[in-house]
Amino acid sequence: MKLLKTSLAITAGALLAFSAAPRPANAQNLENSQLLKPSPDSWPLYHGDYSGKRHVHLTQITPQNVSSLSLSWAFQTNQSASIKSSPLLVDGVLYFTVPDHIWAVDARSGHMLWHFNKPTTQGDHIGQRGVAMYKGWLYFVTPDCHLISLNAKDGTVRWTQQIADVNLGYWTTMAPLVVGNHVIVGVSGDFDNLSGYLRSFDPDSGEIQWQWNSTPPPGTPNATTGGMTWMTGTYDPDLNLIYWGTGNPTPVLNGKTRPGDDHWTCSIVALNPDTGKLAWGFVVSPHDTHDWDAVETPVLVDGDFHGKPRKMLMQTSRNGYFFVIDRTNGKSLLTLPYGPTNWATGIDKDGRPIPNPEKEPAPDGRLIAPDEGGLTNYRAPSFDPKTGLFIVDAHPSWSLYFAKPADGNYGWAGADYGLWGKGVIEAIDYQTGKIRWSHEVGAGGSGAGVMTTDSGLTITGDGEGNVLALDTANGKTLWHAGMGSGMQSSPISYELDGRQYIMTSSGGVLFAWALPEKASPAQHATTEEHGK
């Protein structure tokens, strides 16, 4: 390994010789081995690793000392767009985004190394979830549906490829997933009847390797469109399968033109990353008419289930149900609601909720739980292996859904209105689906993601903009700090120079939290006295 690193450094050095700027030997070179086994001083993937557990094996910050956690630095993007991305951390540099923007920031000091800005006038600017990285290159998607590969050293563009046609109604927001020599990218678009798909690009040339369509082409009789792929999936290297959640069908609120289950919308699918071939699919919301994208993290857990070792996949889905699935074959192990739901008549033999036709949107309105934002949304949950708790920011909520002939059968095709909601951090026992503890985070809801640590901490946020450190065992608050506005992203954590950092964002500001440094005055610059 060391030999490899040295030879890489030499190659990199040779390539850079003409630029006359000396660089550290190990800079920004992310290999597959690091993606498969991320080191504690890195966060090289959207979820931190391929499993999607968003659990770190760091133990410096503990339930005992977290009360002295304090701000190490903050970074101001000076943008009105909220940070919705998970930063990547590779070789001491953080990379994070808002729509049209990327920043590279020194993780030790929080100062900016470079800033990339490509103003786009097309496509929805609803959010940007972050970059992917492979070797020395970043991969970034734009609202107008282009995949840009940039040099991680300075943010210069290497190539740009089209992911989808923005003029058809697509846009892109997600953080690509790098698996082997594939950069896997998904699409968004709910306002038109379009097919969702995943597309794999060659990391070097940008050429298309494969495409998997979640739904048939628009215009196919009695078939659905939709199934957008707008959140980053997970990967099991042993089974060589990627797991991806797909979005709602279109037309969104009117299901009449798309009878049946509407494969593969509101589904979890397992695909071969080398070919894009479907291994299995599981529909979590058959015939959805409420916009409940099933794109929430498909979390991969190996462990005991009811006395048997299992390779599991868990999802707290937007439709209000918690699913445990055998990820080798897509068979259900457990399905239970984790908050108020009133749209299903029961669970079928395959573990899928049975939609109640009476609860489809109607001209005079239907009262539905949860609301369209769902019982949870794209911000990540976390799985804590020690306690066996699946911890999610839940959003118990009620709403009204309408649809009538005048709304048509194109795009949204109806209207819905949220009535009430609140935020609750819930810890679900994956063996039973029972909620072991819950922690209220305020009226309206929080929207913060969740991260857990080996030392027993759960990091998340409340609806008023506080970052919270909870005791994973019982949900009690151990530490908090006001960040000024609600967290729209999921926390990450890493260790640099022997110091553990917890990183959260709020609005356009990124915060790095750490325990106070041990006093070592000798290492600090002495104060010069002037004019005396």
Binding site: S19, P119, S205, G365
Partner: protein
Amino acid sequence: MKRYRIAAVVALIASSFIAVQTKQTHVDAASQGSASAMQTVQQPAPAPADPGAASYAKRCAICHGDQREGILPAFPPLLGIHRQMTDEKITALIYTGKGRMPGFPKISKEEMTSLVHYLTTTEQPAVETTSAANAGTVHASPLAQAGSSLFQQNCAFCHGRDAMGGETGPDLTQSKLVQGDKNGDAISAVVREGRPEKKMPAFNFSSQELLSLVAFIRERETAAASMKGNRRGVAVEDLQTGNAQAGKTYFNGAGGCSKCHSPSGDLAGIANRYEGLRLEERMLAPRDAKSTVVVTVAPGKKVTGTLAYRDEFTIGLRDADGIYHSWSTNRVKFTVDSPAEAHVEQFPKYTDDDIHNLMAYLQTLR
């Protein structure tokens, strides 16, 4: 320090060199891509008929990008440059150059005019070409068209591309605030300040941008009004399927409404004040209902007021004089009385018929 500066300059020159190199590779890669894969699309080149575009392509695009997107960090984007600089400033800058940017002193007057025109025209390609809702939309004014582009990027996700409601956001064409806003001030204020209580973010738009948004919303309002009986969205007549007598029974019985409300008291004439969806939303979840807080600040000493803020750590109220007070929750005891909680408790108990019947009954209270 001086040595550092030289190194920085060298690095800058080197990086500009890289940028230019990268740019060329990008063009090569793109053309290869289009040969091998149908999906690769070349960025449309500026129309050669426009002399300003031609001048830009010749003189500026090498550094500022084919689409004025810039090549950061070395070269700034020029999209939206008219929001940062006046025409005079742009002209002067082109003549004289600045920093690493060379001057173009020999450029002819005609070319300068067309180039500056090209740089400062709003670069808004038509956004919605395929939406059924917007098919055939002809924008009444360039202002509304500029507003449309801004709306599609920033507002459409929640309010729908046609402003008639989308994910979460209300139908703006039926909004009382929009309808009552004579000069666009109220709309602009909401856009600038956001609606934190409803999770609507604030937007930092210029006055001109706000005007264009208002123009677009007005245009959609007019278009929506012309749909008449076949209007999309929720109309008052859609909410008339209930039975008023059954609603009255529910009101006085199972619904428990009469425990707090009275048809001759707080609800007298309610149907004259609200109608349609607004009435139904208020009926199910009165958003502006006040909660009362009693804080025991010392043994025997209590402060009472209207709940103004609450999280796990802080409780805040407004007293009878409108003055705000707050305490750390671990230093005081307090109780919150929220009458509207009864509405939340009712959600799992309603049938859809109960709601429609109640709605019918409330509409008799005129």
